[in-house]
Amino acid sequence: MIVNFNVNGESRVANVAGSESLLQVLREELGLPGSKNACEQGECGSCSVVLDGAVVTSCLVMAADCEGSEIATVEGIGSERELHAVQQALVDHGAVQCGFCTPGFVVTAAHLFEENPHPGTDEIKEALSGNICRCTGYGAILRSLEALAEETT
């Protein structure tokens, strides 16, 4: 079935076979592998995208239900020449562990800072709670975003 939606400001057409997830279509059909496939049950947040204005886990979105939707993925955040402020903050603080979860953190954090340029520590923790799964090393991510929140104050 043909599904039309908008990804990162561009109209896209996807040929969806059945009940597969938006994540699968982004990665396998549309050549956008930035959203990561890990738990497939909405637990880890590494596939986070913005769907019609809200951050959701794209593994739990049925692609066939995305007709007419606006989707923003990590590929649409920043560029190689100029990183998004959130990406730069993560780089500056070495806020990366193995890196697999980083795209999800970038999507969630960029959306948080768009809605609230000066989030407090608790607001940052709450916003990121769906991206924290089983690893350690989240201290640097938190510190980088706290620093960014202060910078823009």
Binding site: G18, S19, E40, Q41, G42, V61, D65, T108, G130
Partner: protein, 268 residues
């Protein structure tokens, strides 16, 4: 696979009448887990998230399509409390109370509250119109309910007179992003009577009616009454041992949790 994406309830009921038993898709947070793990391959899906009339909160009528993110700000205290415990922000942005009701998991976070406030589940079909079922008539077993193959869940309807002194809590293997091993909701009326509901301890949400009766007789419970209250709750639930917990732990925790919530209500 075929999909319908109705924008009105009547279109959804039309589609459901044409394809009885079609999979209903709301936020996807339950259905897509089953799809991703190969447990379900729907042939026909009716996607409900474009139906504005399902996403309305009108006084004590909560539309089935209202997300947990919105219910976090509900005026109903325990509903707001439980909404904050559902999954992660991502899950709460997508998942709906109607989906929770439709999945009818024993561990559904919204179910103890619906039981405690004696909610009615409003369902509709093209041919038979609207039916309202008391929660205890709607939930019939583990992931089973009284929804007919041509019906759609429309709303949860809460009686007008529900007291606002209400508390919810759940126990899980960690403090966030967890499926509950026991959940409970206590609602206390000004006259001292209470309603006590528990989740994850039976095939459906349950009320601890004997424990409620005990407090009706002792609206200002002493320490020994509180201890008996907890013991009674533990006796009234019928939990099982599974991969998340054991029968004896769930029984014990039911009493502890219900007593703790009652004490919070009494302290107000």
């Amino acid at each position: 696979m075929e999909i319908n994406r109705p924008t009105t309830l009547s279109e959804a009921l039309e589609a459901r009448a044409r394809e009885p038993g079609a999979s209903l898709l709301a936020g996807g947070t339950d259905l897509m887990v089953e799809v991703n793990f190969g447990h379900r391959r729907p042939d026909h899906v009716i996607a409900l998230r474009r139906i504005d009339e399902l996403a309305e909160v009108d006084g004590n009528r909560i539309g089935a399509g209202v997300t947990w993110a919105r219910l976090e700000k509900s005026d109903h205290r325990a509903l707001a409390q439980l909404a904050r415990t559902v999954g992660s922000p991502q899950i709460r942005a997508a998942g709906t109370i109607g989906g929770n009701i439709g999945t009818s998991s024993p561990a559904g976070d919204g179910l103890p509250w619906l039981a405690a406030v004696d909610a009615e589940i409003e369902v509709a079909s093209k041919d038979r119109g609207v039916r309202k079922l008391l929660w205890s008539d709607f939930f019939t077993g583990v992931k089973r309910n009284a929804l007919a193959p041509d019906e759609v869940i429309v709303a949860a309807v809460i009686p007008e007179s529900i007291p606002q002194n209400q508390e919810f809590a759940k126990i899980g293997q960690r403090s966030a992003m967890v499926i509950s091993t026991v959940s409970a909701c206590v609602v206390r009326d000004d006259d001292g009577t209470v309603r006590v509901a528990l989740g994850s301890v039976a095939p459906t949400p349950v009320r601890a009616r004997r424990a409620e009766a005990l407090i009706a007789e002792n609206p200002a419970p002493t320490e020994s009454v509180l201890a008996e209250f907890a013991r009674t709750v533990s006796e009234e639930v019928s939990p099982i041992t599974d991969h998340r917990s054991t029968e004896s732990y769930r029984r014990h925790a039911s009493g502890v949790l219900a007593r703790r919530l009652l004490e919070r209500c009494l302290a107000k």
